[in-house]
Symmetry: C2
Subunit: 140 residues, 2 copies
Amino acid sequence: MRDPEATLRQHDLPVTAQRIAVLRAVSGHPHATADDLTASVCGDLGTISRQSVYNVLNVLTDKGIIRRIQPADSPARYEDRIGDNHHHLVCRSCGRTEDVCCAVGEAPCLKAHSHHGFKIDEAEVIYWGTCPACQKKKRS
Amino acid sequence: MRDPEATLRQHDLPVTAQRIAVLRAVSGHPHATADDLTASVCGDLGTISRQSVYNVLNVLTDKGIIRRIQPADSPARYEDRIGDNHHHLVCRSCGRTEDVCCAVGEAPCLKAHSHHGFKIDEAEVIYWGTCPACQKKKRS
DNA sequence: TCATTATTTTTGACAAAGTCCAAAACTCGG
DNA sequence: CCGAGTTTTGGACTTTGTCAAAAATAATGA
């Protein structure tokens, strides 16, 4: 995210300190939770209400400026990187999340199959596993 | 699920009325939530505690007798059909969930890639879209 | 069959993540 | 700089699920 303020203006969103700070936090901490982001913003602005963090994250998500990912057994996480159809790799034991490029080119990702009459708009892929650190921990 | 009782015994689980009823409910209502299942079991046994439903669902899931799916913005759902690596199609507006056969054969499903040093054990795919009923509703 | 023992079930409190609402503060256009 | 309309804030509330202790039940062996 080069310029949070410009990004907000481009999307006709009033520019506020909270929005700039949250946007910067998301940008600087990919896959952070709302809680993580609140902490990060507080280190920047001094304070922000929990509700504002959610408000901002929701409006940014709705506008497509950021993306929300919600793996099982984890609070929602947010990221900056959008529009490139990448997927995620999540550690079952610590929740560590990494980006993964779409493994198979166009299929199944982005391909609008038709099943059961549904109009499909996204194929979400999560790879579940164990991260290096947790593999070590388990062995010991 | 042909015989819930036999299934429980096969897995060395003490047979209780609650377990049989929950197992039957999951079998008869694929993709139901814990709440749905509680209602269904109550119509069968007359009553069951909320905690017992969770206890049973957890133990059955741990044993691999049923599978838990946790799409974003939805409570956990449970299903009977396991071991065939199928995926899910979820309606964004009403949560309706359908099974989808693995769209691309072996890849990316079940294929253990190695990325970031993670040991991957599952590839979960969710297709997001709008079900026929909600498409109609939106148009009207 | 019956007592024993370990496992389940129940009840009620609790926790995490997020939303709803009304009041105060702020942004932006004129 | 003013006023209208958004945002932000604080607090209560909701949903989904877990924890813990006591009561009930299932499986085992005599």
